[in-house]
Amino acid sequence: MVEALARAAGEAYVRALKTLPRDVKDALRNARGRERNARAQSILDTICRNVEVAEETGNIICQDTGTPVYYLSLGEAFPLPPRRIEEAVRLGCADVTARYAIRPNAVHPFRRVNTGNNVGRGVPVIHFAFTAGDALELLVVPKGSGSENQSFLKMLVPAEGRAGIERFVLECVTRAGGMPCPPVVLGVGVGGTFDQCAGLAKRAASRPIGSACGDPDGRALEQKLLQAVNALGIGPMGLGGDTTALAVHVETADTHISQLPVAVNTQCWAARRAAVRVDRDGQATILS
């Protein structure tokens, strides 16, 4: 079972690196159709061409193979306990890193020594959620550093309200400019505690394009911010144009009476992710 899960977790990582999800490809193509700036059109064409070349040649889309981030939804009757599941995911990452010569990115924060296999202290990042049933659903998001580095959190005061949230998000996008490889998918977390808020932003950034926030206030903010961000004119690669963000995703949580945390997690146009379900007998089914 550990081996079957390791294989599913590793192969999902590779699949994410090679093929963009349908919703992301469609969003890129639609953005190209709407774009009015000639330079931005040419950049979007190059991006779309790149996605095709990756599929034609079986190569990975972008050289930054990222930090693998796993979101696991664990059914209560799944036969492996979380500790063994974690072990399997780590095994899977190390195995495909060697087999497919995936660039290893995990280094010690001070000594900068590379572990060589994309597995290390806290890497891959593994989040657990618990659910009914006997299956395990696994979503892997290889998170590139160009966009991850353009991620910010601020503890606003409640009096700053919605206007403060919007201002902060626009500041972040402007400051990031071309560095996170726009057009981006912006993940915005609002509320919770400091750590929870960052987690919400990251979860939001890994949602499919076209999905909406479950909180009606969050949903309204998604639409308003998408328009405001694209009105900035930063454009693909920060070189001008109408397409700065493909989507803005918001996730919310209740917060303390005297807090208003807001976090922005930036996801580049290479919004890679892959999902797989592993049944109780170890059978894997690709979900995306």
Binding site: N50, T57, I60, C62, D64, R103, G146, G233
Partner: protein, 195 residues
């Protein structure tokens, strides 16, 4: 700002005259030898003062750390793309002044000191389409030399490229900076919208 795009084919090495003639916002397709380097490579060159294994003068330097594998003592390309340039800001000046590079290829742009150094020494910043590495890998003909393998993947790489591009002149040799223009316009729009 968005005049008709100018398209140019260039062969490396590049002369000061060639790069100072490149217009801001123009599109370049590069062929010939280029070098690849990034954070650790530049620390070795300029913080540790390691002597250059071969001269870089006249060549473009790409901010990169490739996926490559060694087969029978030679490196084969797997996926070669570009990293965010801003982290390497403090190395632009020595790279242009001491090593004589004529262009930096990267993504996201560089800062004010880089812009000044490009003007002083005659060099440009060429913006690549970040993340489009599968495509760019097909434009890299070969990996010809690899130095400082202990830094892998942050070695000093020598590549032969054929029509690498499109590359956009994001910062020219006369103080022109497309990123700064776009950022200033964005700030003005945000201010006008009252946020």
């Amino acid at each position: 700002m968005t005049a008709q795009p100018v398209e140019m084919e260039l062969e490396t090495p590049l002369t000061a005259e060639q790069v100072t003639a490149l217009p801001l916002g123009g599109t370049v397709w590069l062929s010939g030898t280029i070098f690849g380097l990034r954070d650790a490579t530049l620390r070795r060159m300029f913080d540790e003062g390691a002597p250059l294994p071969e001269p870089l003068a006249g060549y473009p330097c790409l901010h990169t750390a490739p996926n490559a594998r060694k087969v029978d003592g030679r490196y084969e390309k797997i996926c070669i793309g570009t990293t965010t340039s801003a982290r390497m800001e403090r190395f632009t000046r020595p790279l242009l002044r001491d090593a004589g590079a004529r262009a930096i290829i990267g993504k996201g742009g560089l800062g004010d000191d880089s812009l000044a150094a490009m003007q002083e020494y005659g060099a440009v910043y060429l913006a690549i389409v970040g993340g489009a590495a599968a495509l760019q890998t097909t434009q890299i003909v070969s990996i010809d030399a690899v130095y400082w393998e202990d830094l892998f993947p942050e070695c000093l790489w020598r590549f032969t490229v054929k029509r690498l591009g499109p590359l956009i002149v994001g910062m020219d040799a006369h103080g022109g900076n497309l990123y700064a223009e776009v950022a200033a316009a964005a700030q003005a729009r945000a201010a006008a919208a009252g946020v």
